[in-house]
Amino acid sequence: MLPARLARAATTTRGLAGRGVSRVGVPLVTTFLAFLAGGLAILVTGNDPFATYKAIFDGSGLSWLFPWTGGDTREIAASSLQQTLIAAAPLALLGLAVAVAYRAGLFNIGGQGQYLASSSMAIWVGSSFHGMPALPHVVITVLAGVAIGALWAGIAGALHATSGANEVITTIMLNWVAIWIGSYLFGLGGPLQNTEDRSLPVSPEVAQSARLPVFWGDPELQGLHIGFFLAILGLVVYWVLIARSRAGYEIRAVGLNPEAARTAGISPGRVTVKAMLICGAFAGLAGAIDVLGWEYRISTTDITVSQIGFLGIAVALLGRGSAVGIGIAALLFGALTTGASQRNLDPEIFDPALGTNLTLIIQGIIVLVASADIVLGGAVRSLAARSFGRLRTLVARRREASA
């Protein structure tokens, strides 16, 4: 029998979702620690942490929801909140792309690549078929993005299922494949470079008929598009999938004990592929709604500097794999990004150039704290066990022998 301490550690790292207090408490503590550290960073720069955080809060537009806190005018706050929600929607979907894989015992680092593959596909389909009616054009473009995202992740799933190739490695590799394909397509002289200005490595613009309608705010000023509802829908689908569906049951069974699943007649390989396809579909949806909702065109620079898929990992970690948690975590990261941006942060309170760095500090610490609990406990250990076979035994043995 395992010593109780180890047994306890094993159970707490089994899933992203903890039980009882830890389910809410751990993310709260994590966030608090991150903001505390960020506050210290603000102090070091000689600014007032409270005022800075208040400015970020105002800049994120969250003050729109709490009018009594003062801050910007209603119009400005609403516009900021729209930006926050525009940023949060793909983050939630990218968080789901990590969470589904995690439930299946996999670590999907490939959200970035799946997102980019979908972005490129959405640009292509969205900028073709001029003159098509809006509804079919939007639907086809979104579905094309979802499909290529699913395919991108499915490749890693299939490689894992057939040859045991580690999905961490393959998804990272596929990120680069997506980045370079995108850079080639939209780069100078690339087959999908825009035709208006051949000196710019920028894609053509998505046709009006393929754009997601804006339902809140001014479409000319980047109002909130209906991709927001698609993200909410994604969260609901995720919840139903994991908690209520047979497919989700199989994914959880394989994630928790592939041997028992296999013995009972579930094919772990098939479930792995299925889980990765679902992951990729979520990431693909994120890429499609960004392109069709507000970007409309992307440059090769956008492709190479984008880190959004990795933020999705942080969202999944902080959200602890629950639909609600991922939604809240996405909102937090969306608010941070928007609130500390050049455009929204009051330069008299905190230098916006530093503000972006502050956001990164807070995000980094959240990932660090959340990872110490989850990644080191679960994913990295399972990664180690799978990729290096018996390393785990060695670790356990070493720990015991040299403790």
């Binding site: 928790l256 004990n257 007649g265």
Partner: protein, 535 residues
């Protein structure tokens, strides 16, 4: 330390129940646990437990699964710290904060699940963590020499150069013992050491323990096997529900007496089987040949039939192809050639679902690894096999209320104790986990039930429950193929016994055959005996 080993010293007669101070003339204890209490939340794992280990004795710690044996030993080995009580080593109160402390005090532990690196050699494993060095480099030659010398001295046959994963479980265990001795253990704790061994290996281990005792090592042997305890131990401490019930001399003790102390009641009598009239063959295996993971021939042209209403035991020494045979029959491993039929339907090559649909149930030998998803609730575990039936899912969605109700009924039916439908399987005791595993298979109403070592690692009461269930299912007309390493079990419930050796079915014997006859067949060359197989 200064005292010579006092093997066989039983001058104190039945030891007093309070093991605090040794009676006059008894050797001083090398180790004492005094009033150990350990709680996990509301659960009291150990309550005021005393234990004293004399120099050069084998002291058995006897109790059912979940009685608190492992907790007590975890405290002794520094994994856990007691809430109350003290550990005294060599007359000195010690505070063991980690296994390292325990090792430093000369306490060695052989865990039930070995802590080894499978790809390293036996010698490397033995010295792991304290490798002999020459300068900054590991000195492999010295390690090898030391291991050989140590093995020689204590009569532990190991091959220092073999890779750990290639040697038998018995040798892996001897390597674990060597590791403890290499680290200077004078007190050796073995946690259920025979649970993973064949009957012969267990015998060998007992001989090793006697030799170690003779050379002055003091041994705590954790077990729930009465016969083994009575055969080798000098004294026995029985614990039940975390409390010490008694400490007594093994010489004067009897098995029924110990069993009563262990379970707190008289055990039911042996299983009475009504003779049944077996019907037609429900499971047929014809000329099955299977290779193992390394591509070696594991099952060699094996044929057998199990009729409805009978229990056929497949007896043999572990590693003679039983596992591969079961896997091939249950659709978990592709057969190289041959056929498996359930009720006349060929299921070869149809996988687990094909076998299940044809009416085959499978109780896997390793319930924690292959049987249950430990972090799933009981209800979820019970649904695992019937995921695609309308009982569990409708239009791809789980019918959670139905799952819960079914689980509640099965829990009642199979007398699963320790939780309801929502309880995680992990928190159940081994016996109750096994009941869940069995309930799940029987809920599918299989014609054929393949039970692979269904009582491995279970305690007396749970074994009895499993045996009764298997006999009841036989009486209900199911065909049961029982794969077992335990000859007592085979003789208790089987109607026919097939002996497997080197992947071949070498003999068929009646369950009344003596242990010697069965043993002889099990260790035969593996060449089929024409007279016997023809019978």
């Amino acid at each position: 330390m200064s005292l010579p080993p006092a093997a066989g010293d039983s001058s104190t007669g039945a030891a007093p129940a309070d093991g605090a101070a040794p009676a006059d003339g008894a050797p001083a204890p090398v180790l004492e646990l005094r009033g150990i209490t350990k709680r996990f939340g509301a659960v009291v794992a150990n309550e005021d437990v005393d234990l004293d280990l004399r120099e050069g004795e084998i002291h058995a710690l006897l109790g059912e699964n979940g009685a608190g044996k492992s907790t007590l030993m975890s405290i002794l080995y520094g994994h856990l710290r007691p809430d109350a009580g003290e550990v005294v080593v060599g007359g000195e109160v010690v505070h063991l904060r980690s296994p390292h402390d325990a090792i430093a005090r000369g306490i060695g532990m052989v865990h039930q699940h070995f802590m080894q690196v499978p790809v390293m050699t036996v010698a490397e494993n033995v010295v792991l963590g304290a490798e002999p060095r020459r300068g900054v480099l590991r000195d492999r030659a010295a390690a090898r020499r030391i291991v050989l010398e140590l093995a020689e001295r204590h009569g532990l046959a190991v091959d220092p150069d073999a890779t750990m994963e290639d040697v038998t479980v018995g040798m892996q265990q001897r390597a674990e013992v060597l590791r403890a001795l290499y680290r200077g253990a004078r007190i050796l704790v073995l946690d259920e050491p025979t649970a993973v061994l064949t009957a012969q290996e267990a015998e060998e281990l007992m001989a090793i323990l006697r030799r170690l005792k003779a050379s002055g090592t003091s041994i705590v042997l954790i077990s729930h096997k009465l016969r083994e305890v009575l055969g080798v131990a000098d004294r026995v401490t029985v614990i039940r529900r975390g409390r010490r019930i008694a400490t007594l001399d093994a010489a004067g003790a009897t098995a029924p007496e110990l069993a009563r102390m262990m379970v707190g009641r008289d055990l039911p009598d042996g299983i009475v089987k009504e003779p049944t009239m077996p019907g037609g063959a429900a499971l047929e295996v014809r000329g099955l040949t299977v290779r193992d993971d390394r591509g070696l021939l594991a099952v060699d042209d094996a044929s057998l039939a199990v009729r409805t209403g009978e229990i056929v035991a497949l007896a043999g020494v572990d590693g003679n192809g039983q596992r591969e045979l079961v896997q091939a029959v249950c659709g978990l491993r592709a057969a190289e050639s041959g056929h498996v039929l359930v009720d006349g339907t060929e299921i070869t090559g149809t996988g687990v679902t094909g076998a299940t649909d044809a009416g085959l149930g499978h109780i896997p030998e390793d319930r924690r690894r292959d049987g249950l998803v430990l972090d799933f609730s009981i209800a979820e575990n019970l649904a695992l096999r019937r995921l695609r039936t309308p009982e569990v899912t409708r239009r791809g969605l789980l019918r959670r209320r139905r799952m819960r109700d079914t689980a509640a009924a099965l829990i009642e039916d199979f007398d699963v104790r320790g939780g309801g439908p929502a309880t995680p399987a992990r928190s159940l005791s081994g016996g109750n986990q096994q009941k869940v595993s069995i309930a799940r298979e029987l809920a599918c109403d299989p014609r054929v039930l393949v039970a692979a070592q269904p009582t491995r690692g279970l305690d007396v009461g749970a074994i009895d429950a499993v045996h009764r269930r298997l006999v009841a299912e036989r009486d209900a007309g199911r065909a049961v193929l029982l794969v077992s390493l335990d000859l007592d079990e085979v003789r208790a419930i089987a109607d026919r016994v097939l002996v497997i050796a080197s992947g071949r079915i070498v003999a068929e014997l009646p369950p009344t055959a003596s242990a010697a006859e069965l043993g002889a067949a099990m260790t035969s060359s593996g060449e089929p005996d024409p007279e016997r197989t023809a019978a």
